[in-house]
C-alpha cells in the first residue's frame, strides 16, 4: 500500500499526520491558485459567512438514529416486540445473530473457544460496518458517545469561562489500551475490558435497568467535563480502534473538496478526531478530493459546520451505480 493510503491508518493508531506526502498535480494547482487570489477569496468568504447558519442537520439525524437504535433494544425487551433482542454487546435482529466486534474479540481471546453462532454474529456485524464505515458505530449507535457529546458541551462552556482547561494526552494510548486489553484477555482468561466498557454498561442499564456500574460511567463523564475533552473516546476506548480497523476499506466517508475550502478550521474545532482532518490546513491537502481517514466517526459535525460546503458525505462508487 502506498504511503498516502497508509498514513490515515497510522494517524488512527496515534501517529501525527505526515507533512511530506506526495501532492497530486491537481491539488498543487489549487494550492497555487489560492495563494495568488487571496483578496477575491476573502471577499467570497465574507459573503458565505454572512448567509451561513449551522442547521445541525447531520447531528440531529444522527442523534435520532442513535436514540432509535437504543430505543429499539429497550422496546424489544420491555414491550416484548422482539425485533432487536439482547444488548449492544450481542443481539438478535429478527432472529439473526449480531455480535459487537470488540466484545466478541474479548470473548474469543479470553475463552479461546469459538462457537458458530458467535462467528456468524461477528462476521455479520463486521460486514455491516465495513459497508457503513467502521467508526460510524461510535457516533451513530454508541450511547456513551451521546452522553460524551453532552459532557463536551458542558466542558466547552466551562472552558470558555476559563473554569476548566482541556488536558490532552497522547493518542497512541488508545492503541496501547487495545493491545493491553487484548493481552489481558488472553492471559487472564477474563473479558477484562468488558467490566469497564461504558458502551456495554450503558446499553444494559438502558435495557435491563440501572445499576452501580453507572457510577463508573458518571466518573468518566465527570473526567471529560473537568479534565479532558472527550477523553474516553479520544485516548482510551479500544472499541474505537476495532471499528476503525473494520472501516478502513469502507466506501462511506466524509469527503473533503479542496476547491471549496477556505481553511478556516471550524471543522477541526468541532471534531472528535481533528487529526483526521489534517488536510484542511492550508497547503496540506494532497488531492483535490480526499476521503477523511478511518478514525473519522462519520458524525457529520464538520459537514454541518462548514460554511462553504468543502465537507460532505460521500459513498465511493455510488455515482457509478446510480
Amino acid at each position: 500500500m502506498s504511503r498516502s493510503r497508509l498514513d490515515p491508518i497510522r494517524v488512527m493508531l496515534g501517529a501525527e499526520p505526515s507533512k511530506t506526502l506526495p501532492v497530486s498535480e491537481a491539488a498543487q494547482g489549487i494550492h497555487v491558485l489560492k495563494r495568488q487570489s487571496t483578496k477575491q477569496l476573502s471577499a467570497q468568504r465574507e459573503a458565505l459567512h454572512s448567509g451561513f447558519r449551522n442547521s445541525h442537520k447531520w447531528r440531529n439525524r444522527r442523534w435520532a438514529v442513535l436514540l432509535a437504535v437504543n430505543l429499539l433494544f429497550v422496546l424489544s425487551f420491555r414491550l416484548d416486540i422482539q425485533i432487536l433482542e439482547g444488548s449492544l454487546t450481542a443481539s438478535r435482529f429478527l432472529g439473526f445473530h449480531l455480535a459487537d466486534l470488540n466484545s466478541a474479540l474479548q470473548v474469543m481471546l479470553a475463552h479461546k473457544h469459538i462457537i458458530v453462532n458467535l462467528v456468524i454474529g461477528t462476521v455479520t456485524v463486521f460486514m455491516l460496518w465495513l459497508v457503513l464505515g467502521g467508526r460510524t458505530f461510535c457516533s451513530w449507535v454508541c450511547p456513551y458517545h451521546l452522553l460524551s457529546e453532552l459532557a463536551e458541551i458542558v466542558h466547552l462552556a466551562l472552558a470558555s469561562r476559563k473554569l476548566v482547561s482541556d488536558q490532552t494526552f497522547h493518542r497512541g494510548l488508545r492503541t496501547v489500551c487495545w493491545v493491553v486489553f487484548a493481552v489481558l484477555a488472553i492471559v487472564t482468561g477474563y473479558t477484562v475490558f468488558e467490566s469497564i466498557s461504558p458502551t456495554g454498561i450503558l446499553s444494559r442499564a438502558l435495557i435491563y435497568g440501572p445499576g452501580l456500574a453507572l457510577l463508573w460511567v458518571l466518573g468518566l463523564l465527570l473526567f471529560e467535563v473537568v479534565v479532558s475533552r472527550r477523553a474516553w473516546c479520544r485516548y482510551v476506548c479500544p472499541i474505537g480502534v476495532t471499528y476503525g480497523v473494520a472501516g478502513i476499506l469502507s466506501p462511506v466517508s466524509v469527503v473533503y473538496r479542496l476547491e471549496n475550502c477556505f481553511h478556516e478550521g471550524d471543522c477541526k474545532k468541532v471534531c472528535l478526531v481533528p487529526h483526521a482532518l489534517a488536510m484542511v490546513v492550508k497547503g496540506r491537502a494532497t488531492e483535490a478530493t480526499m476521503a477523511v481517514g478511518p478514525d473519522c466517526t462519520r458524525c457529520g459535525m464538520c459537514v454541518d459546520v462548514c460554511p462553504s460546503g468543502a465537507l460532505s458525505f460521500g459513498v465511493k462508487g455510488l455515482h457509478r451505480l446510480l
Binding site: 443481539s91 470473548v107 458467535l118 497522547h170 489481558l184 477484562v192
Partner: protein, 283 residues
C-alpha cells in the same frame, strides 16, 4: 530528573515549559491515564478472586472461570426467561458485570420454559446443552441422566437437554424444617408480598402464576417436594428424632439439578433448604 521541581510549577501563559519538558509531562500524564484505566479494569479481579458473591448461574453454564470468559454480557438469556429468574451482575461482581445469575430464594428457575430457553438464547456457548470436548466435566457436576421434567413426564421427549447441575440443594436448617418437626403448612407460602412465580401444571400447564395466588394446605409440610420440577430429585426419608418419634424429612437425590425451586418455596424464614451454587454431587 533535574527539572522535576520546575515541572510541578503550573505553567502560566508567559512562562511556557520548554518543548522537551512539555512532551515529558504529556507522556507522564498519558501513562497515568492509561495506568488508571487498566488498574480500574483489573480491580474487577478482586470480587472474582475472593468469591464475594458465589452466584448461582443459569442452567447449562460452563464452569465459573470459563463462564465469565465466554459470556458476552448481552442479557439474551434474561430476555427469554418466562419467570424472570435471571438477573445480571453489577459493579460488585467485578468481571461478573453483566453476567447472568439467579437469586433462587427470590425467583428460582422452574423450567416453565420446558427446554432451558436461556441456553438456546446464548450466542456464545457460555450456556450450553453439551460442553465442547476440550472442557472437562467436574466430578459430580455431571448428571447421571438428563433431567426428566415432571411437567412433561408423559411426553415422548420428557427431558431437559442439559447434562450438568447448577448446584445442589441441601437441608441447611433441619431444626426449623416444618416436616422435620412433624408440622404441616397452610396458607400462602411466602407471604402476600412475595412476587415470585411458579408454574403449577394443575393450574396452567403453560403459564407460571404468582406463588401468592396459590395457597397450600399440606400435612406434613412437603412444599419443597411437591414443587420440585424434576423427577426423582427430592423425597421424604424417614428418621427417628431426638425423642424417638418417627418423622419425615426432605432428602435430596442425585437427580437434583440445583434449580432452587425448593429454596424459593420453603415457607419458613429464613428458608430451611438452600442451593449450594455450583456445588457437585457427593455420594
Amino acid at each position: 530528573m533535574s527539572g522535576s521541581a520546575d515541572s510541578r510549577r503550573p505553567a502560566s501563559s508567559d512562562v511556557r515549559p520548554s518543548g522537551g519538558r512539555k512532551s515529558r509531562r504529556s507522556f507522564l500524564r498519558t501513562v497515568l491515564l492509561g495506568g488508571g484505566v487498566v488498574l480500574a479494569a483489573l480491580s474487577g479481579f478482586l470480587p472474582v478472586k475472593y468469591a464475594m458473591a458465589r452466584r448461582l448461574r443459569p442452567p447449562g453454564a460452563l464452569d465459573e472461570a470459563d463462564f465469565l470468559s465466554s459470556c458476552i454480557k448481552c442479557g439474551q438469556c434474561l430476555q427469554v426467561c418466562p419467570v424472570s429468574a435471571i438477573r445480571l451482575g453489577d459493579l460488585v461482581d467485578g468481571y461478573g458485570v453483566g453476567v447472568p445469575y439467579i437469586d433462587s430464594r427470590e425467583q428460582a428457575c422452574d423450567f416453565s420454559c420446558d427446554a432451558a430457553q436461556c441456553i438456546l438464547a446464548c450466542p456464545t456457548g457460555a450456556l450450553t446443552y453439551e460442553k465442547p470436548a476440550s472442557l472437562p466435566v467436574r466430578v459430580g457436576a455431571g448428571l447421571s441422566r438428563k433431567p426428566i421434567l415432571k411437567a412433561k413426564e408423559r411426553d415422548a421427549e420428557n427431558t431437559l437437554n442439559f447434562r450438568e447441575r447448577m448446584g445442589v440443594a441441601r437441608l441447611a436448617r433441619p431444626e426449623s424444617c416444618l416436616a422435620t418437626k412433624g408440622e404441616g403448612f397452610t396458607g400462602i407460602a411466602r407471604g402476600a408480598d412475595f412476587s415470585g412465580r411458579l408454574r403449577y401444571v394443575s393450574v396452567d400447564r403453560w403459564k407460571p402464576v404468582p406463588v401468592r395466588e396459590h395457597p397450600y394446605a399440606a400435612t406434613p409440610c412437603d412444599l419443597c417436594i411437591t414443587s420440585c420440577p424434576i423427577v426423582g430429585a427430592i423425597s421424604f426419608e424417614k428418621f427417628l428424632d431426638a425423642s424417638g418419634a418417627l418423622r419425615e424429612r426432605p432428602a435430596v437425590h442425585e437427580a437434583c439439578v440445583g434449580c432452587g425451586v425448593c429454596e424459593m418455596i420453603c415457607p419458613v424464614e429464613p428458608g430451611c433448604i438452600e442451593i449450594d451454587a455450583r456445588e457437585v454431587w457427593k455420594a
